[in-house]
């Protein structure tokens, strides 16, 4: 309705939303959607675009799948000799409390990929690890993966792993950013409809300019994020040397975390007290955004790092106009 950049994947977005809503208990919506097959066709730009569009739908529907780890594992498939649908990457998180391995979504029956820079990538069956549930709102299954390093099977040597690592992180960041966009859009849509129906002082609160401007700002942040992330997906499809500007995945992910949080905060202000209850859906969207912001580089750290990099490198971080032209076929 409000996109500045029209996504060619809109149709898939709708289909993904329907599949995620309509899958019964025990069924894998990714299977129903044919999503796993897309991972095998990643050289095809349409397949890649469709695979990524899933994440936006997943955010909107608060769907709970293992897609993020599978997306990150995609570049390793060939080197690991693995079939799509079997391999799911764990996400390594480091905080002041040490390093943790996180598995997103239900990973039962899958093989987990653990890639540690400097040591190459290893695999292990999920069943052979200790999966400790991490309870967060957001209708997201999260497990801390505890594994004895001796139990890991080395699968990809460091040189080979290093060759695909940046690509894996790139895909993970774009996927997570799209899911943040979807979740933020989800709660913003609720807030807009709430503002139109909730009455105070005898009229809908959406008639008050203060409330209208909160929502207009949130929509602006949402459109900004949509433009940046869909442009990144499109640039990724251009067969042109260095089409995507340097560190573009960090820019996208930093913007997603920042704008996603701002949208949630403004929506919550519009909901008032009800938005701070467990009963209302807002906190699920909000927590989903917070969880994804914390994975693959937080907005705070990426924003700071990007600033330092720009200052020191004096590079031009903009997408080149020729790449943008190629992307749109002008």
């Amino acid at each position: 309705m409000t996109s500045v950049v029209e996504s060619p994947d809109r149709e898939f977005l709708e289909a993904a939303g329907a599949a995620l809503r309509g899958t019964g208990p025990g069924e894998d919506p990714l299977e129903a959607l044919g999503w796993w097959d897309l991972l095998a066709e990643f050289d095809d730009r349409d397949a890649r675009g469709a695979a990524l569009a899933l994440f936006r739908a997943q955010g909107r529907e608060l769907a709970d799948t293992a897609a993020l780890g599978a997306l990150i594992a995609q570049p390793y498939l060939a080197a690991a000799g693995a079939e799509p649908g079997t391999l799911v990457a764990v996400i390594v998180r480091r905080s002041a409390r040490g390093e943790r391995l996180l598995a997103v979504g239900d990973v039962a029956g899958r093989t987990l990929l653990v890639d540690r820079p400097g040591q190459g990538a290893s695999v292990i069956a999920a069943e052979k690890t200790e999966l400790v549930p991490v309870t967060v709102p957001g209708r997201l299954t999260l497990h801390e993966v505890r594994v004895d390093d001796a139990a890991l099977t080395p699968a990809i040597a460091e040189a080979e792993a290093a060759a695909v690592r940046a690509r894996a992180v790139y895909l993970g960041r774009i996927g997570a950013s799209l899911e943040i966009l979807g979740a933020a859009e989800g709660t913003l849509a609720l807030a807009v409809s709430y503002a139109a129906s909730r009455e105070q002082f005898g009229r809908p609160i959406g008639t008050f300019q203060a409330v209208r401007h909160l929502l207009a700002w949130a929509q602006t942040d949402s459109v900004a994020l949509e433009s940046v992330v869909t442009t990144a997906v499109a640039l990724d499809a251009v067969a042109l040397d260095a089409a995507a500007p340097q560190r573009h995945d960090e820019v996208v992910k930093a913007l997603a975390g920042r704008n996603g949080r701002r949208i949630c905060e403004r929506a919550m202000q519009v909901f008032g007290g009800i938005g701070f209850t467990a009963e209302h859906d807002h906190h699920h969207f909000h927590s989903r955004v917070l969880a994804l912001d914390a994975l693959l580089g937080t907005s705070a750290e990426l924003t700071h790092t990007l600033g330092a990099w720009w200052r020191e490198s004096r590079a031009d971080p903009s997408a080149s106009v020729r790449a943008l032209l190629a992307e749109t076929g002008s």
């Binding site: 500045v4 139109a196 809908p204 401007h213 820019v251 996208v252 990426l302 924003t303 004096r314 031009d316």
Partner: protein
Amino acid sequence: MLHITASSGSGPLRDDACSYAAALDDWLATRPAALEAASRPIAAYDQRVAVTSALMGVLYDEGWARYGWPEQLGGFGGDIVHRAVMWDALARHGLPAMALYEHLEVLLPTLVALGNPTFMAEALPRFLRGEQVWSQGFSEPEAGSDLASARTRAVERDGGGYAITGRKIWTSWARYARWCLVLARTGTTESRHRGLSAFIVDLQDPGVEVRAIEQANGTDELAEVTFDEVLVGPERLVGEIGGGWRVAMHILAHERGTFGWFRHNFLTREVLDNLSLGRPAGDTLLGNALLDLAAVRASSFGGVRAHAADTVLGPRAAFVKLMLAASEQAVNDWVLASDPDLAVGVQDDHVAVNRQDYLFSRIVTVYGGSQQMQLDTIAKQILRLP
């Protein structure tokens, strides 16, 4: 050179914006003297106007600035994409601002679409060459955000033509301009937006007085313009009588949707020109500016593309306008942190320009439709709030 094969008619790169971009890039890399002169920081506004106009003359003579404009009006053909490429390239090669040539992108697309073709066939090349610049007379002392309450009157004269009387304010670059696109009332005051018409006024005609407004940032490119029975011929009517609002909306919708592309390139330039002053304490501010610039770039390129495809962006243009203002403020938040000299004194042209740009960034949420009006537009026309 490849691009100067045509003195009129279509340019050889008309249908290939990518090749145009590559060829222009090569030419700019030779560092033409006019580019060098216009790329230095210059505090004195008159001088900045002079070097930028000189550069425009060279860009026209070399053919570059003629792309993106219709052949029948002296251009080389092509569309806004060529212009988007040209200004992007100029910024990347060191030009710090479009200055008064911003009006090429604000006013000319509408004048080309709705103005008298014979008149525009003379006026457009003169603007492109930097000889005769344009200004826009919309705002009035009593008509700011509420543009439809404009009071300047145009009275039809016996024997044809109109006499314009009234006062316009915040008229950017009027002091340097030959022409002004004036929104004037041809109907009753009660007719609001339906009673407005758009006229092209020669600022050298009798009855016109231009008074510069010295601004808080030290420059004086804004002006107050008064009209006392200024006569305009019927060929200077743009659109139809009573069609002034349509002209104004055409300009504003175009400006808000695509202007972000043109202006944000110069904000990136501003950062690049100040990176050597950056300090680690400002890194988060700089990172935020980078994110905001990326958002404007992605969304405004969509606006450029929509314009090239003759698609009306409509109320969605408000998003780009809001993002652009946010990015300009984010960039200048970082400039202030990196160059605190700008706040305590003016030592040289670089500091003076930083001071001008920083202070100007505090008013970008006002001009061209205030931030509050943009938010109202989104709330009403996009979110459809009650």
